[in-house]
Symmetry: D3
Subunit: 231 residues, 6 copies
């Protein structure tokens, strides 16, 4: 029977969920765990303030309670770079749960040296620094710079691309970043192009967190297979 | 065309490479990246001292030089918990390279709170602490305790299992570990059983590092697919 | 006109609000700021899980929105040691806002050396350690030990007292704590007795946070007075 | 009977003591603790060098010894941003003792995010950084910049104000400070104006430290009152 | 012309100065810098409290002022493990100045891994921890344990030796110290014996600090010689 | 009988060994330990990459094994700022072993405040930051800047000097370095001139590490002398 990994977008914008799902296309394979991307209809259109972050917890819990099957999934990814609800869900659910922010920072640290973060808005920088400090990775943070585009401008691919390149180059050249993190789930489609442009690894948070969830699920499957073989 | 991830055991003991390969069985899937587990014949039977760790670098570099195809792999995992040669290989190769130690510590941090490490021998504890300090994760280390069995005793599954359980329980109960890391590539077959016994997540380093490599490779594949779709 | 400091108990148990108000009796003086202790009727009976912590944010915001006058207070104290909603309220309100947890840790650090924390339940220890790490005070934490009494037992003053003394002495003697923090708003009535028993300073979180709020309010008043004098 | 809090200016300049006393005007209230601001006649005109800082200890101890009543005060504030003599006094006196520097840094941390410091002279910056590092708050320091005015220029309010604004704006805009600390006891009269100009909280050290002392004293008074009520 | 290194015992006990001088016997050589051990007659018999530490600054400054020649020495060592006056002297003198405490901690860190400290009295442990934290070496501190003997008992060599061995073994075996520091200038005569008994390096503070001073002086001499050769 | 300190240049360039030996001229004295500077003929012309660093371990071990007398030396200094082989040698040899990098950083910390590093090439900066982080000294690093001259240009004394001064001044003025470290063993001949030019202490790594080795050797000699006297 196939395992399920739930990737839960805590905002109500289906388009972002679709972006996430597209970013994970290569993570689906025959016989592999199902990657189910879901939208929290009860959430706000975007998780922009700390109030949104905190409110997501109740929405996420309620969402799990509504359909008992959900609590029997094999792993979950919280689809927001601010990792809303992650501690609360861990207290209630036994499946492993991954946040996009922490997974990205820690994957960057696994890739080597100091990393930079591209934030959507300046207001997020402070939140990121708190999270990075709590993980103990402050010394590895080369810099966190915002592209400071409105959500509308973000949807203008040309404008967004120009700012991503400018900020990415600044992180690489002025701050000494050897890895760059896209600080938001909605920029997946630029990952590869930006990596080629900058010549340093670029981490996309949906993939970073889901990769960790996939690893956790496959690790268990390996054990089951081994048990069967041994039996 | 299929990507390749090289998992390179820097010691010459084929049996350990076989254990690694078995631990990764579930990470292989139709159409997925090849997971090629290789043994460094030029290495010592085991990486036990810092001299072994340092010497592994030249062996690893030579191994990559011997067959040009190897340098064209898509990612590499260094199959030893001490992450030998990782900085040197990063200076010479463009593929992403993951170490088992760092990947395990960082995966544990992604899973939540404080983690414990089960070392094979006490002498390794100091080395682990240095690595954890360099990553900035000292505050998240609940404890690092050795089972202190000889390699021969390790091959006695009953004896090894008893020590693993005793040390794991101590890490969980006395040290407050919420996650336990198996501090050696050769204990994969106990992962699942130990996780069930302890009731906390247990991380196996071959899987932790290869999961990160798999994520890196699939992330790029996703981009290629997206480019094709867009084309 | 008199300033107002709101001390908001985010749980719905009026008795705890009454304890807080009693703990602040000496902080009220003729002509001084009003200390208004309020109970969030919409909250749970106790803030026990991270889900409670996160849910408190929306309750707190709603509470401020219900009566516009509230947003015009001069300072606010969030009446729970887990500091729920503190970042979110800071994003929305211009008044200074203090959390009981952070205020207690930082007041302990101001008093001198390493501090210990008496937690109500073991489950809270991990949460405290995260908060202390985020503040940068990990090296000053001598220890965090739980009395592990049920809420019912807590209301048995004899049982509670015995455990408080035992845990406090352990923090002082075995952990080297020079200051002890009561890790919960409901233990104010033991503060003085425990301080006398242990011979080290004991910090009560309602007082620590309200003291900081009082300071912030009086500082502004001082400026107003100076302006008047100068006028 | 009324408690006494001693605010001891370790330099011999009465005018600075007067400034401190003025800064505390609002902290005096009917029935409240006496706030007694004293000048150490034996001190130098200003605490400018580390030699002055260290020498203050003996002066402070002698001052307490001269009049036994002083040692029976309820709390003490050392009226200098370098916290001279604080550890030594704690070893000899049982009353709680607060330093202006540590109290300011810790109060800033209680208010939220990263803080900036306005130093009088560049030479002080290094001393501040040492103190902040010892407290564990280095990651929360946004910046420490000096106005670099002579004591004479400082007394020219226009010149001082211009530099304070310029440095404060730089801390806020270039360094990302969300709170600004006045790094000297003699700038109290600018606090309010600067707070309004910058739109971020501005902390004045006399008030920060005395507020903590007031809290400590009132906390004990609360206990006494509770004991009387219970009696 | 021969350089001079001043080793200044800030307490008035000549016997301790004699011990220091004996500890440095091997650091004197024909043509080498003079090692002049001096006793501060104005100091207390022992530097035991923080008040003693702080008061030493003025004594040290006065001592340098009394004889102008002293200020022309080539380096100075402050002969007390608490490093009294070190910052103040650096502000006034241009020669390099070394403290016994900091030099010992940093020399231990240079020798490899985690170090333990043997304190004379428990009261000193807290002071050491502050100093180690300020240097950034907290993670390398394996433990700090006191022998807790009175000064009289200390002079009983048998009693002192027994406690030194017991505490040293505990640091090595229970705390994992790979290096042990004698936390007081008066224990030099046990260094070698203890090193042999414990089988780990034992650092004596007079030697650690004077060794650093000697290095600084010889480094300059080397330059002079090179200049002469080149000339 | 005279002790021997081995200073082992792990690269094969005799000229650099000669520079080291010249830098140590003043550290040799009648009756003092022999300072034997050796060139590892098996090494590369320069230690430039991490592969070189790691490969040095085997060369160093082999060198010690070739002549048993070498293992009986009294201390060793690894003559390269990257401290190659230091952990491995410590596992195999009982003599104290010092690295030039760690010794320089720790000596700088002993001299007082924040230090700057002058690197030869930018690529080394990252390696230094890792080493400094592992030692816990990140907060004391004022900056690390490269002169970025080729080895050929380095041998042009005029060009090298100009860059050293420019980088040193930037470290002092813009970064606030109170001490400057020459980040390479080959710049000893500039130490004194640069110190005079900058007016801050300049540390040369050969001297820093050998000074620590000398201290360790003399400390033992002192004990022997004391034992003889006592006998």
């Amino acid at each position: 029977m196939t395992e399920r990994i739930l990737i839960i977008n805590p905002n109500s914008t289906q388009e972002i969920t679709d972006h996430m799902s597209a970013a994970l296309e290569a993570f689906r394979f025959p016989g592999g765990p199902q990657l189910v991307c879901e939208t929290l209809r009860s959430g706000p259109p975007g998780i922009e303030t700390q109030a949104h972050v905190d409110a997501a917890t109740a929405n996420l819990i309620e969402w799990f309670e509504q359909v008992p099957e959900r609590k029997r999934a094999d792993a979950a990814v919280i689809g927001c770079f601010s990792d809303p609800g992650i501690v609360a869900l861990r207290e209630r659910l036994t499946m492993p749960i991954f946040g996009m922010g922490a997974s990205s920072y820690l994957t960057a640290a696994a890739l080597g040296d100091r990393f930079g973060v591209i934030s959507v808005v300046s207001a997020a920088v402070r939140r990121h620094k708190r999270a990075i400090r709590a993980l103990g990775l402050t010394d590895q943070l080369a810099g966190d710079l915002a592209i400071d585009l409105s959500v509308v401008e973000l949807s203008n691919e040309d404008a967004a691309w120009k700012r991503l390149v400018a900020v990415g180059q600044k992180l690489r050249d002025d701050c000494g970043a050897a890895v760059v993190i896209l600080g938001c789930a909605g920029m997946a489609r630029y990952r590869s192009r930006l990596e080629q442009n900058l010549g340093v690894a670029v981490i996309e948070p949906t993939q970073a967190a889901t990769g960790m969830a996939l690893t956790a699920v496959l690790a268990r499957r390996g054990a089951a297979a081994a048990n069967r073989r041994a039996g």
